[in-house]
Amino acid sequence: MKLRDMLIGLGAALLLALVLSPFASPWPDGLEKIAGDHGFLYRGGGKPVIAAPIPDYAWPGIQSGRTATRIAGVAGTVIAFGLACGIGAMARRKKAKQGKAADTQGNINHG
């Protein structure tokens, strides 16, 4: 994958997060709706096991709900990108250290 393609792909993801995220449907998702309909939604209402820094996709401390969602979306998109690149690179490097070049026996090689 060339740098240009990577930037286009990342740009598209950032655009989705920045432009479209505030307009997502506010309706509950499938599981949440069923939990409500069948009376077990309350079970998920307790204190979460860990307190997440940006709960419910809203950057804390920002008045405008839409802006808070946009910033949270962009932050999450960048974090997911960085983490996946890092873990992907690590998984490959570990293999290379073991003396087997992945490309020689690998069955794909993305251009």
Binding site: M1, D5, M6, G9, A13, L14, L16, A17, S21, A24, P26, W27, P28, D29, G30, L31, K33, I34, A35, D37, H38, F40, R43, G44, G46, P48, V49, I50, A51, A52, P53, I54, P55, Y57, A72, G73, G76, T77, V78, I79, A80, F81, G82, L83, A84, C85, I87, G88, A89, A91, R92, K95, K100, A102, G106, N107, I108, N109, H110, G111
Partner: protein
């Protein structure tokens, strides 16, 4: 379909944590073995895209919404192993940073959406695609796999709820499968749109397993 804390009993989420971690470990080993260096940025782009797309809930019938799971999308481009890793990364980010999906339920969510949604979803794709490299065949396989992956993930989720004593299987299973049969149509449409675009501009980015020559 992200299960929050409190929906699953410890006797259910405990083993699913082990299964989820074990599954991801296997995926990572395969990624190290099979993925070319230049595919690493594609993993990053897919994680970014799936994260952003999962924020975009679309309305389905009856005051319910759904969003892309992206398991088959990631697997069609990256193969099942890197696909599974990418979806798991998205789930971990959602859980730890955005409180979407509980920490206790993270193993279950990884099993449902990553191992079933991406790794098993790729199995459906490969089965329908066969050795073909025709555009129509690839898109048909993508659509079938995308729909199946969402419906199967929802069925697994229903079983986990039932085993936890949260909701009886005769209630949870038909309800989850019915809603996700609709959400799965959205999944199939979005996945096909993206794959169709990639086939047009960069067909070489579609994952080629051994035996398929494009």
């Amino acid at each position: 379909m992200h299960i929050p804390d409190g929906f699953l009993a410890a006797r259910v989420w405990g083993p699913l944590w082990i299964l989820g971690v074990g599954g991801i470990w296997c995926c990572l080993r395969q990624v190290g073995r099979s993925l070319g260096e230049r595919a690493v940025p594609l993993m990053g782009v897919m994680a970014a895209f799936v994260f952003a797309a999962q924020m975009l809930n679309f309305p389905v019938a009856g005051g319910t919404s759904g969003h892309l799971l992206g398991g088959v999308l990631a697997a069609v481009l990256l193969g099942p192993w890197a696909g599974g890793v990418v979806i798991s990364i998205v789930l971990v980010v959602q859980c730890l940073i955005f409180q979407d999906g509980g920490l206790t339920a993270l193993g279950a969510n990884i099993v449902n959406m990553s191992l079933i949604g991406s790794v098993l979803g790729y199995g459906f794709y490969a089965a329908v695609r066969g050795g073909s490299s025709g555009r129509g065949r690839i898109l048909t396989a993508t659509a079938v796999a995308a729909w199946c992956s969402v419906v199967l993930a929802s069925a697994a989720c229903a079983c986990e709820l039932a085993l936890s004593g949260t909701s009886p299987l005769r209630v949870a299973l038909p309800a989850m499968v019915a809603v996700h049969a609709l959400i799965g149509i959205g999944e199939a449409i979005i996945t096909c749109l993206v794959i169709s675009f990639v086939l047009k501009v960069r067909p070489d980015l579609v994952y080629r397993s051994e035996g398929i020559r494009t």
